[in-house]
């Protein structure tokens, strides 16, 4: 039986997220909206799973239109119990972050994690490494309660793997088996979140290709990590946040 016989293409985002249960831990890829799975997030907002733990670089965009599909939207819908992110508050006083209000009111928990530690914790989860030492955050309040250990005279913190139930990712190109390619800075968290997750849902920008169309040397996420893929339809049906943003102000 060939991989070509096992298409992972799912017809709709609604179908892709249908079985996500309350309480799931979900990693959301993307950096500055690029590589962010906005269509899957919108479907999840509609699906309504609650008590979610959301792992992502940030908790949503600042000063965004109300319908923007990001963690801010899930938070407003009351679906989020906790976030694990490198940004949990706006970085300028003038910015409005939808998440912040809920966090400040104590309605949603936030674990702030340095971006490199977040990336490494996800990578460790995918690599069967339960814990590792990092120099990041030593001597800061984030080190409180964490084990500190010296190697060669320098201090390091013990940090733990961060496995997730689901990863929502966004790729440029895919074949039907789920082999993925990203374009430029779209790659960001996508490959490591895919490796950290039990189940991976990918939204894909280009028409999905037959198996074998992508050179095996040029695959960024092997299809063995990917479970469901959905083609992003053209706007306005599909969300293309990083293109909507152009031209820049």
């Amino acid at each position: 039986m060939a991989m070509a016989g096992r298409s992972k293409v799912v017809a709709s985002f609604d179908e892709a997220v249908r079985d996500i249960p309350d309480g799931a831990t979900i990693a959301f890829a993307g950096f500055a909206d690029i590589g962010m799975p906005a269509n899957l997030i919108r479907a999840l907002a509609k699906q309504g799973a609650k008590d979610l733990i959301c792992v992502s670089n940030r908790t949503g965009g600042a000063d965004v239109p109300p319908e923007t599909a990001d963690i801010g939207l899930l938070t407003e819908r009351g679906q989020v119990r906790k976030v694990i992110c490198a940004f949990t508050a706006p970085t300028r006083r003038s910015q409005k972050l939808r998440f912040a209000k809920y966090h400040e009111a104590g309605l949603v928990e936030a674990e702030i994690c340095p971006q490199g530690t977040l990336a490494e914790r996800l990578r460790a989860a995918g690599a069967g490494i339960p814990a590792f030492y990092t120099p990041t955050a030593v001597g800061t309040e984030l080190a409180e309660g964490k084990e500190i250990r010296e190697f060669d005279g320098r201090k390091y913190l013990l940090e733990y793997a961060l496995p997730v139930d689901y990863a929502f990712i966004r790729a440029y190109r895919a074949d039907t088996f789920g082999n993925l390619q990203y374009r430029r800075s779209q790659r960001n968290f996508n490959p490591i979140m895919a490796m950290a997750a039990k189940t991976v849902l990918a939204e894909v920008e280009e028409e999905i290709l037959p198996v074998g169309a992508i050179d095996p040397d040029q695959i960024h996420t092997p299809g063995v990590f990917v479970h469901r893929i959905v083609k992003v339809p053209p706007a306005p049906d599909g969300l293309w946040p990083h293109i909507d943003r152009l031209p820049r102000k």
Binding site: I34, F87, T91
Partner: protein
Amino acid sequence: MSAEPRGLTRQQMCDRLAMEFEDGWIVNLGVGIPTLCSNYDFGDRLVIFHSENGVIGYGPLAPRGQEDAHLTNAGAQHVTLNLGAAIVHHADAFAMIRGGRIDATVLGAYEVAANGDFANWRMLGQKGGGIGGAMDLAVGAKHVFIVMEHTTRDNQPRLVQSCALPLTAPGVVTLVATNYGLFEPKGDRFLLREIAPDIELAEVSKTTGTELIVPPDLRPVRLRSRQQR
């Protein structure tokens, strides 16, 4: 920040730090003011810009209308790629940072202390914060440069004896450019290495939270022309 602060412009502050970059350096620029460092004209020096989202070797901002929808630097600016650029994923981008491959980082800050501590991730009274990649850069980069206005909006010093805000990292800052000059943390005081051309020493002293070490031959901040974009 209020109105237009006196002394150096933001671009001049960044130019002065960029002047420190040596040939072959790999440099990571923080979000906001630090990104202006990439406007400096490095002449014969090769300086490679790295960003946390895995872009190694990005170039100038893309001209309006020619942005690549899949490409930004860590500050969400639509940059271009220089010939020879390479893309890696987020864990590899931070492997480079922690692994000592970044020669210098330029970051913004709320406060820098005379012992090299700095704080740039949580504002006063804020719940949560925005760490991003700053804590990794602060411990991983060989040189940590800070660029910031010399005082807060309330005219309080940002160069202080010890940070009141939660630290990004202790004891790592090697050089600070403010609109008033170029400073080096020296333990209990700052060394004023160079002063902004139109600023009085008394004004710098008054608005700095520690005593200053002032060299007998205090020079004005060196400034050179920058590339026009």
